[in-house]
């Protein structure tokens, strides 16, 4: 195997690597042409964020990313007054900045945010394309390049946290899933900097875990996990210990499940 030349940490300026699986690139381009908001669905670590990065680079726009969390308020998105010296100063939030600049605004894991927070994107997501800033008493209309992208993971959230129907219906939806074996092998090999034989073994293992019937795992082995494992191999670790640290121990804390996964990994990975 030719994994001896480690692929050092890359800087962020190069072109994001994304391998299209279906027609998602064309759909996104078409939506961007019209300024339509996009909803990305897909399991954890299947490449949603990377897809948006690649598309922003492709379209030549800035990308502003905000990760949703349950304490996020609308002020975190729109902006707030801060006190400076003897007066109050308005500071734009990331959403307002994106609206003014005409950037792509990517709201990751949107359902994590409280519902009263998500409604601030409503006027931006329909024909109005404007952001009312009630604290300033003004309305900012979106610059031409502005596009709203949100992502969410349908299987992961509990029933309580689902996307409001009125929010959903403003978006066009693109569903992403784990890529097919060939594509995923290529992605893992490229991202981790390993040969395709090792990448293929990892992808085979990943698919074995994903397709388990009645699996005790909350999350399956994502492409991201496989890339992490591949990265460890590229740094000179043996395949088995890389998988043990980057996949098995990550997926579960339950000693029984870890042991059972270990057996599965041992059976599926090539013999040393």
């Amino acid at each position: 195997m030719t994994n001896s030349h480690p692929n050092a940490v890359r800087n962020g300026s190069e072109v994001p690597f994304y391998r299209a699986v279906g027609d998602e690139v064309e759909v996104f381009r078409a939506a961007a042409g019209r300024g339509l908001p996009v909803l990305l669905k897909g399991p954890t670590g299947c490449g949603k964020t990377r897809f948006v990065e690649a598309m922003a680079h492709d379209l030549g726009r800035n990308l502003i990313t905000v990760a949703g969390h349950e304490d996020m308020t609308s002020a975190d998105l729109v902006g707030r007054f801060l006190l400076k010296g003897g007066e109050t100063v308005w500071v734009d939030g990331p959403l307002t900045r994106a609206v003014r600049e005409g950037a792509i605004f990517y709201l990751d894991e949107v359902v994590e945010a409280r519902q009263d927070t998500t409604v601030v994107i409503h006027p931006l997501a329909d024909h109005r394309r404007e952001l009312p800033v009630d604290r300033l008493g003004t309305t900012v209309s979106a610059a031409p390049g502005f596009q709203l992208v949100i992502s969410y993971n349908p299987g992961y959230q509990s029933v309580l946290k689902n996307l409001k129907e009125s929010t959903r219906q403003r978006f066009i939806a693109i569903e992403l899933d784990f890529p097919p074996v060939e594509t995923e092998t290529e992605v893992v090999a490229h991202e981790a900097g390993i040969d395709s034989e090792t990448a293929r073994a990892l992808v085979k293992l990943g698919n074995a875990i994903r397709n388990l019937d009645g699996s005790p795992l909350r999350e399956v082995s994502s492409t991201r996990l496989l890339i992490l494992a591949g990265g460890l191999v590229a740094e000179g670790l043996s395949l088995r210990s890389a998988v043990q640290s980057a996949v098995v121990q990550v997926l579960s804390d339950d000693p029984d499940v870890v042991r059972a996964l270990g057996e599965l990994v041992d059976g599926v990975l090539p013999r040393a």
Partner: protein, 565 residues
């Protein structure tokens, strides 16, 4: 329930599931039996090394995965052990060779010669024939056609579509109401049918009776849209194993007053029977009543635990707006005005002028369930029994939570057989935890046994009906050794586990604290799950992580459930 023994064949579960392509469990066969499978479980020989069990599991799962044990094929092997053996030898080699292409592990077990057949049907044909077939190696195990054919719909299987469909027996349908003279449409009366003579068709008797009794429906039979008749409901003889019986309330009276007026309540609760995979309805009588023994108030002292208080104060479950903060989302106009008034009058206070939303609101109801059974009497080196530790912990927890403004109740539990599970209330949700209550708790003497599942169900019901808060938590203080008459070992563990599962489904979080008990924490972990249980020598050892424990058990309710594709 999971086995915690690292050598248990349970470790092969996922690998077997992968090879078989469907959910399969692995267990040890009774001693002396060879490896086999019944389609849902793969049995490996007991007492062998892990490597030997692994290859036994591998071949049996591979047979399942390749479809070699489909009903169609296995039927042909029934009652023909020699054919089954030859079939196993042929198919085993074939599926192993097939699997070796995908799995390096199988490749290491491969035989030198090529498999002589290419499909399962071909193997079956050859097994029936007279050609010489090499004996299967011992680790191939055996094929048990009877077990494979028997398990298609075992107990506990989900209800199939035809069982769920609502069907009326035409004879039971309420008939349409007709006029007297419209004899043709009303059809034959069922009573008159009894008098029909099959031998000769004279209608004289029936005509006579019809004249006498009339041919109309009785007045109770309503028209369409009338009240539903009793006979249109059918009582189900059996319910599925997935159905959970509801507790049956027991009504008490005391001098003509209902029991609820004096705080006595109770119900018959179901119990899970793990061996038969079903609920036993109305199995345990659980009674809760106020503890009214006379107590010496001088013994009402409860040790305070500052660490615990600080930690529990951090448990926040809902957002709350805080005013006058140094940082936040919005300007607090009031604080801002104050600030400017102060500035103009020549004083410069800190600039705390923001509104902040933080998770601080609690709305938490906690029921502390204290094990008051005799199993908690072992003493530690300081001469303090496990029970003393638990009592102290219950008191400290209750006092701390009450001070923090939560709804708290303290109940003890003990049992003496399934008809006498008692939940004496030391403090109900509506009482203050006064000196008498504290003294009663401190003087509680352990006795009887531990029927944990019934106690959890009873306490859960109290928590659900009386706490009145959106967030509810059941804290069980126990040494985790469920034992009662006819209630021990695996039966008890699974029943308690099931009771907790029911509570979580109903939105009640559960946490188990084992204070002072030196042993058997693995039982607790199996019952409560590793996240929902903690054990330590004293409460003070657990205090620093109490907020984490509370939050993690409450969070479990909102946690995403695994999605089955």
């Amino acid at each position: 329930m999971t086995a915690s023994d690292p050598k248990s064949p349970d470790r092969f579960r996922l690998l077997a599931t992968f090879i078989a392509g469907r959910s399969v469990d692995v267990a040890e066969a009774p001693r002396g039996e060879a490896a086999h499978t019944n389609g849902q479980l793969v049995f490996v020989s007991a007492g062998r090394s892990v490597a030997e069990q692994r290859r036994e599991m591998l071949i049996q799962s591979a047979l399942l995965g390749a479809g070699s044990l489909d009903q169609r094929l296995v039927k042909a092997l029934r009652a023909r052990p020699s054919v089954a053996r030859r079939y196993l030898a042929l198919e085993g080699r074939r599926v192993l060779a097939e699997l070796a292409g995908q799995m390096p592990l199988a490749a290491t077990l491969l035989f030198e010669e090529e498999p002589s057949t290419a499909t399962a049907d071909e193997s079956l044909e050859m097994a029936r024939g007279r050609a010489k077939v090499a004996e299967p190696p011992e680790w191939f195990g055996v094929i048990r056609p009877s077990r494979l054919l028997a398990t298609s719909a075992g107990p506990g299987a989900r209800a199939a579509d035809e069982e769920l469909r609502l069907e009326f027996d035409p004879i039971d349908l309420p008939e349409a109401d007709d006029d007297d003279d419209d004899g043709e449409q009303s059809g034959e009366s069922k009573i008159l049918k009894l008098f029909d003579n099959p031998l000769f068709t004279s209608r004289t008797v029936s005509d006579y009776l019809r004249k006498m009794l009339g041919n109309s429906h009785s007045p109770a039979d309503g028209t369409a849209g009338a009240e539903m008749q009793v006979r249109s409901l059918r009582r189900a003889q059996e319910v599925g194993a997935n159905a959970r019986p509801l507790p049956t309330r027991i009504r008490f009276t005391d001098d003509g007053k209902p029991g609820a007026a004096v705080g006595v309540g109770g119900a018959l609760y179901p119990e899970w029977d793990v061996y038969n995979d079903r609920y036993r309805a109305d199995w345990c009588r659980v009674i809760d009543f106020p503890l009214t023994v006379a107590a010496d108030v001088s013994a009402a002292g409860v040790p305070h635990d500052d660490v615990l208080r600080r930690r529990l104060a951090r448990v926040g479950l809902g957002p709350k707006v805080l005013r006058g903060r140094a940082d936040g989302d919005d300007l607090d106009i009031e604080a801002l005005i104050d600030l400017f008034v102060d500035l103009r009058s020549g004083y410069s206070p800190p600039e705390h002028v923001y509104l902040e939303r933080r998770k601080l609101a609690r709305d938490l109801g906690v029921l502390i369930l204290l094990d008051a059974s005799g199993s908690a009497t072992d003493t530690d080196p300081d001469g303090l029994a496990v029970h003393d530790h638990q009592r102290g912990a219950a008191a400290t927890l209750a006092v701390t939570l009450e001070e923090l403004g939560d709804r708290v109740a303290v109940y003890a539990f003990r049992s003496h057989g399934r008809h006498a599970v008692q939940l004496p209330a030391i403090k109900t949700f509506d009482q203050r935890f006064g000196a008498v209550g504290r003294a009663r708790l401190n003087q509680l003497q352990p006795s009887s046994y531990t029927r944990l599942g019934a106690a959890i169900r009873g306490a859960g019901e109290i928590l659900k009906t009386e706490a009145g808060t959106p967030n509810r938590l059941l804290v069980v203080l126990s040494d985790g050794f469920p034992y009662d008459d006819g209630y021990e070992g695996r039966y008890a563990e699974v029943d308690a586990y099931k009771a907790l599962e029911e509570l979580r489904t109903d939105g009640v979080a559960c946490l188990c604290l084992s204070i002072g008990a030196a042993t058997a924490t693995d039982t607790l972990e199996r019952v409560f799950g590793s996240a929902g249980c903690a054990s330590a020598a004293t409460l003070a050892d657990l205090s620093p992580q109490m907020d984490e424990l509370f939050l993690s058990s409450l969070r479990e309710l909102a946690a995403p459930k695994p999605v089955r594709g």
